[in-house]
């Protein structure tokens, strides 16, 4: 499947801002089942300095600095991505989860030990017995890891309610777990916390999901949102495999991966520090538009009447 993705973030500042430093992680990754054919970032006002690099997790990162009084900042990322659906291993063919748990604590940097980086606490995710107990229901002795993880994924989907009003970006993962509700960011953090609490590596995936309009209704441009899900390590033979607890599914060709990290703090699409005293408002609009492969080189009009929706910076 080929997509054209437009992701626009607009900050408006109550008081003029004199200096801003920002980090953008908005370029879809190149992966075995995904290739990013085109990516551009349009920043207004024009930055004084820019520097691009791959961060620790291999995500394309752009640093930019704005100097001189400005009252708004608009960042538009436009990307063309080809995605094919991954072929998951048969869950029952994956190794017993205890086996994976032992392998990732190896004393040399084997592929397993490298994945082991993702079983420790991270800025947004702590481990605790509460999560371990919740996970233990699915992680029975010697159960194949993916089989158990799929069940955990489904339980989470059933036990937790999707509710954009329940949490915000600062809600700790324990709190969201107690509330039994939240948005995709919370679902992902909770699933990761459960897996890490029983010693398994899990990473946070930031990206997009193509949303299908209700039957008979037209597609609304800009009504999509950035999305988040989870990657679990199924042992060196099978590698990482994705789970989407918000939608109770295994990511298909409708999931577009942008960045990997330990939690949201590593992959936040746009992060910034500005000097100024006033409040700021942020509006995000995401549009994931399926394209025919030939559409790539035809001129594409940016959405003319994008309906924007206000949201917090958390991933939904």
């Amino acid at each position: 499947m080929r997509y054209e993705i437009t992701h626009t973030t607009t900050y408006t500042y109550e008081e003029a801002v004199s200096i801003g430093h920002h980090l953008a992680r908005m370029a879809p990754r190149d992966l075995p089942k995904q290739s990013c054919e085109f990516h551009e970032l349009d920043i207004l006002p024009e930055p004084l300095s820019m520097a691009g690099y791959r961060d620790y997790f291999g995500n394309a990162t752009l640093f930019f600095g704005l100097h001189g009084s400005h009252k708004s900042l608009k960042v538009t990322a436009r990307s063309f991505v080809d995605v094919t659906a991954p072929t998951p291993p048969k869950p029952l063919d994956t190794p017993a989860w205890e086996h994976v748990r032992t392998a990732v604590h190896a004393n040399e940097l084997t592929p397993d030990a490298e994945a082991g980086e993702f079983c420790f606490v991270s800025p947004y995710i702590r481990v605790s017995e509460i999560f371990a107990d919740y996970a233990a229901v699915s992680f029975k002795t010697e159960r194949p890891i993916l089989d158990a993880a799929l069940e955990l994924n489904t339980r989470l989907f059933r036990d937790f309610k999707f509710d954009p009003k329940a949490t915000d970006i600062a809600t700790p993962v324990e709190e969201a777990f107690k509330l039994r509700s939240g948005v995709c960011q919370d679902f992902a953090h909770i699933l990761i916390a459960c897996l890490r609490s029983i010693g398994l590596p899990a990473r946070y995936v930031s990206g997009y999901l193509e949303t299908l309009p209700p039957v008979g209704k037209p597609r609304l441009i800009g009504a999509d949102a950035s999305h988040a899900w989870v990657s679990i390590w199924c042992g060196a033979e099978h590698g990482w495999f994705d789970l989407d607890p918000t939608n109770n599914c295994m990511p298909s060709e409708r999931h577009i991966t942008v960045a990997y990290g330990r939690d949201f703090s590593d992959v936040s699409p746009l992060r910034g520090v500005v000097s100024g005293s006033g409040e700021q408002k942020m509006v995000v609009a995401v549009d994931v538009m399926p394209r025919k492969p030939s559409g790539l080189f035809t001129p594409v009009q940016p959405p003319s009447q994008s309906q924007t929706q206000s949201q917090q910076s958390q991933q939904q």
């Binding site: 520097a51 640093f63 100097h67 009084s69 940097l109 481990v127």
Partner: protein
Amino acid sequence: MDMPPTAESMGVAAMLSAYREAGTFDEAYASERMPRPAWASFLASLGKYNEADLHSRHESANRLLREHGATYTIYNQQQSADRHWKLDILPLIIGAEEWRTLEVGLKQRSRLLQKVVADVYGERRLLKEGWVPPGLVFANPGFLRAAHGIKPKRGSFLFHHAVDLARGADGRWIVLADRTQAPSGIGYALENRIVLTSIFGEEFRANQVQRLAAFFQMERDALRASAPQNRDNPTVVYLSPGPLNETYFEHAYKARYLNFPLVEGADLTVRDRKVFLKTLEGLRQVDVILRRVDDTFCDPLVLRGDTWLGVPGLMEAWRAGTVSICNGLGAGVIETPALMPFLPGLCRHLLSEELKLPNAVTWWCGQQRELDNVFANLDKYVIKRAFVGGAGQPVFGSQLSREEREKLLARVRAAPHDYAAQQLLSLSTAPVYEDGKIEPRPLVLRCYIVPRGDDFEVMPGGLTRVSPSSQGMVVSMQSGGISKDTWILADGPVEQLTLLLPPTIVLRPERQAGDVPSRVADHFFWLGRYAERLEDAVRVLRAVWQRLSGEGNEDQTRELAALVPWLVALGRLPDRFGSQVPTSELRTELASLIENHKREGSVHELLSRVRYNAMALRDRLSDDTWRLFNQFDRDANPRGAKMTVPDALQLLNTLVLDLAAFAGMEMENMTRGHGWRFLDMGRRVERSRNLIYLLKATVYPAPRNDAMLGPLLEMCDSAMTYRRRYHARAQLAPVLDLLVADEINPRSLTWQLNQLTRHASKLPRDGSEGRHGEEKRQVDYMLSLLAGANFSAIAAAEDTHPGGMLNLCDELQTRVITLSDTITQHYFNHALPK
């Protein structure tokens, strides 16, 4: 100095012969009464003193520490946390030969750790090849993923390295811990040395103790040499978390010693991937940052976002190679006991040498076999948090109850990689003089290493800490420890050059506006304003208390009756004092205006504001000024629990003199640089403001009470002049003439404005505003207002249709406040480009 022991005072020789080693290795004595060679000469000269001599030296040391401000706490009576720096007068002495061995081992350790940290952030071969377990890095919050792949252009991640050493029972020095993030204590070591050379000067010279000055000179050169650009004249700044940090004294002390500007995160800004210092003259590029802010606080953009101690974009500038940061961001990853068990192998692998300084036996609990061993032998170990930022004190396995033990095991089991276990050592002891006794106390020595070219240099000295009791197991300054100077003996005579120069003297070139950070100017300005506001408060209160003394004549009673409503009009007394209130209640209220530190505008509250601003200027105020500030504190505390009139008067009188001493010091001893200029502008602005308030309260609300005018002259220190000039009871017209229009009275408004216009013409400016800046235009306008006013006519009109004076006061008041805002906008808010 050499007095024979007297009957009252025991001879030190006798005290020393009563000294009994604790059964472990003693630093001073090989066996009973057999001093070790390095100590023999010092102990022999000590033996000539008596206890009274030691006592007086102990007192001098404490006095010096106080005067240097090593006792400083933010002036706050609620938190009287004892933060005095404690120094034992007896040094730790290490012989030349032993030191050479230590030095070699310490240099090797720095070299090794430098390679380890470079690999962790670079190729990671040590992880791939199994020399370091990956979990030790991955689980470590000191591992900054944002620093991954950065190769510091010049220098390395590890510049300042400190090593905590203890001596085992066999006499060998053993490493307890490494400090690699932003090691503390070196400034205190320097302070200890300066104090000890002053109380044991003779012994110090006779023992051929190695000097510290050369090391600091070398460190300074090495820092400058790490500059990626401007290498002939690099700008080096000392980045501190600020006055609220527990070791701020040391930051200020060392910054001043090295002659680097002491800055906070807010003084720096990143533009175009370069770091700049905001100064009075605008932005100035920073080439080297000596960093004392912890790793994760340094850049809110990529590290912890909930803090303003750092500089947004700093990591990016570092990545771009435009600034050298010492220590590099992320160096905290190797500040962990977890690494220690792997160092012998790493040393063989990376340096092809055996590790020269042995580690204390340490296990990282992140490995199963090691964890099992620790659990099985818990009594033998002290359990520590493995990584930087890990909360909680070390726990001694042998001291735990059954229940505590289970709790600890559960905690460790839940996150084993967060813990390390270290075998208990019986620390060596050294003689400590306390409470009239000399007794052995366990000690830990912290040594400091910095790179010098391809080699390293070890400070010939260190920070020795001894336990607060002879039975102590924990030795740290936080848990009430005492420090010692550390004397490293030289083989031969110590270089004469350093002997001639006491180590405090560092030539300081005159600072230009480009050297004065805006925040520093800001603090100077407010130091001036608050010192003046304090003086105003003290003088006003004194005028009131004087009239409370009870034996007052008729005049005094009349004046007091005028003063009380006047204070209400000023807003210094609550409204209820507008009507008759019993004197006892007034007295309570006036006492609260002195000592209630929570009350805005009280003497104690203002004193704490003066203190706060002075503290932020710690590296720019002279030692005498500090002595004076310490004096303020003592003088501002009432003697009794309940304040009597004589107590209050004595306190206020003393403070008037103290403040005069501060003003005198400012006038006579401060270089006329920009710091002084902003201090004096603050003072002039504040005095103008206060004067306007006092005058306004005199004429408004009506009716005016001329009995106020006498006390007013007194408060403005102009009563004598008035009497000499007019030989009459105070009347409004001549009072206005003297306090407002007079050009030669340093207390008059015209005088303040004349000073301000002079200052304003010398302020640094960017040339965009023509010949004179906005500040000067504003001051000159106020002067023209005063020059155009006919004060006899205004005073006469006040009797018939009042209002003219009030209008004038209101206008001046607004203009003075605007002036202060303009200065603030222009010089202190550099975050906003003009």
